[in-house]
Symmetry: none
Subunit: 237 residues, 2 copies
C-alpha cells in the first residue's frame, strides 16, 4: 500500500504491542500514515515534532493516566482524539468524552469500524473543498456553487434552485432512464398525482436554458410513458 505524503497521519498510543500492530496495519491499508507508541512520554515527545491529524489513545498506560493525556491533547493540539479503551462503563465513556475526546471506542473493536470512524471525523476537517460542484458536458459547464451555466463561448446563464435540482439529478445519472416518479421523490418530495406537471415545467425551462431544439432534443430526451434520459458526456470536477 502506497502512502501519499499528504495522507492523514494517525498517532497510536497503546501499551499492548498486538493492538498497535492491528491498528497500524488496518490504518495503513486504508491509506493513512501511522506512528505508534507504547508510552505516554514517547508519544508526547513525538507530538512536539509532528502534529498528527488523529490520535488513538488507550486509557490504561504504564507511565501516565490516559485521561490526562487526552485532556492535554484536546486542549493544546487541534488533533482529533479517539479513546480506545477496555473500560466499557457509560460513566467512563461520558467522562472521556467530556474531557475532550472526540470519540470513544470499546475494546474489543473491529479495525474497519475504527477506520470508518476516523474517516467520519476527518471528513469534517475539510468541509468545503471536497465536494464536486462543477460538471462539464457537451460544451457546457454547470457551476452548482454559483448557480450558473456556462456555454462554449463563456457566456453565463444563471439557473434557479429548482432548475439546479433537476439538472444535478440528470448529471449524476447520465445515459440512464430516470423515471418520472423517482424524479419527484428525489426532488420536491410532495408527490401528488395531479401535481406532476410541475416537473414538466421544470424540465421545459431547463431545456430552454440549454438551448435545446424542441423538435430534436440532444441532451434531455423524453421516453414516452417512462421518464427521461440525459444524454451527454458528463465529467465532474
Amino acid at each position: 500500500m502506497t502512502q501519499v505524503a499528504d495522507a492523514p497521519l494517525v498517532s497510536i498510543l497503546d501499551d499492548e504491542p498486538a493492538i498497535r500492530t492491528i491498528l497500524a496495519s488496518a490504518l495503513e491499508d486504508a491509506g493513512f500514515r501511522t506512528m505508534s507508541f507504547a508510552r505516554a512520554t514517547e508519544f508526547e515527545a513525538a507530538l512536539a515534532k509532528t502534529s498528527p491529524d488523529v490520535c488513538l489513545v488507550d486509557l490504561s498506560l504504564p507511565d501516565k493516566d490516559g485521561l490526562t493525556v487526552v485532556h492535554q491533547l484536546a486542549l493544546e493540539q487541534g488533533a482529533r482524539v479517539i479513546i480506545i479503551s477496555g473500560r466499557a462503563e457509560v460513566r467512563d465513556r461520558v467522562t472521556g468524552l467530556e474531557l475532550g475526546a472526540d470519540d470513544y471506542i470499546i475494546k474489543p473493536f473491529d479495525p474497519s469500524e475504527v477506520v470508518a470512524r476516523i474517516r467520519a471525523h476527518l471528513r469534517r476537517d475539510a468541509p468545503t473543498e471536497n465536494k464536486a460542484d462543477t460538471a462539464t458536458f457537451n460544451g457546457w459547464v454547470a457551476h452548482f456553487d454559483r448557480y450558473v451555466l456556462c456555454n462554449e463561448a463563456g457566456i453565463e446563464t444563471p439557473f434557479s434552485h429548482a432548475e439546479g435540482e433537476v439538472l444535478r439529478l440528470f448529471l449524476e445519472r447520465p445515459k440512464r432512464l430516470i423515471s418520472r416518479q423517482s424524479m419527484q421523490e428525489t426532488l420536491g418530495g410532495a408527490a401528488g398525482e395531479s401535481f406532476d406537471r410541475a416537473m414538466d415545467v421544470r424540465i421545459s425551462r431547463l431545456r430552454t436554458k440549454l438551448n435545446e431544439d424542441p423538435k430534436n432534443p440532444k441532451l434531455i430526451k423524453t421516453i414516452y410513458g417512462a421518464g427521461y434520459i440525459f444524454l451527454g458526456d458528463v465529467q465532474w470536477s
Copy 2:
C-alpha cells in the same frame, strides 16, 4: 428548564415515541433545544425551514430508509448526523459512517452518553469564533474588532453591528445553505414569524457594502424558498 435562544438545536427522528421522549428530555435537561419527528417526510419538511446543529436519526423508519435520509442530510446540510440504531453489526456501523454519519450509537443507549457525544461533536464546530475576529475572503478583509470592511485597494468601509452579525454568520458557514429561519434564530431572536423583513433588509445592505451586482450576486446567493448561501473562500486569522 429555560432554553436560551442560541442553544444548539437537536433534531430527533425516531418512530418510537418512548425513544423520542427520553432523548428530548435528556437533551433539554442538558440545555439543548429539540425538535422531534416520527416520520422522515415531516423531518425533511422541517429541515427546509430550520437547520439544526445535530440530527439524531433512527435507521428503521416507517416511510423511508434511514440510510437514505442520512446520506442526503450529510451531503446537503452541514449538520452533524448521529445514527441511533438497534442494528449493532459492525457492517451496519461502517456503512452508516461511510454514508456520511458522524457517529453511530447502538440501542439500547444511555441518554447521558448521547449528550456527551453530541457535546463532543459540537465542540469541534466553533473553534474559530472565540478568538479570530479577522476574516479574509475574495479580496475583502473583515475586521470584526473594528467593524470595518477592507477591499483590495485598501479602502475601508465601516459596517454596523447588525450587518456584522449577518456577515459573521455567513463567514462562519461558507458554502453552506443557511436557512432563513435559522438565521433569524441565531440573530434577532425575537422573531415575528413571517412578517419580519428585517433580515432581507440587513442582507440587502450588506450586499451593497460588498459591491454585489444585484442581478448576479457573486458572494451572497439567494436560494428561493430556502435561505442563503455565502460563496467565497474564507480564511480566519
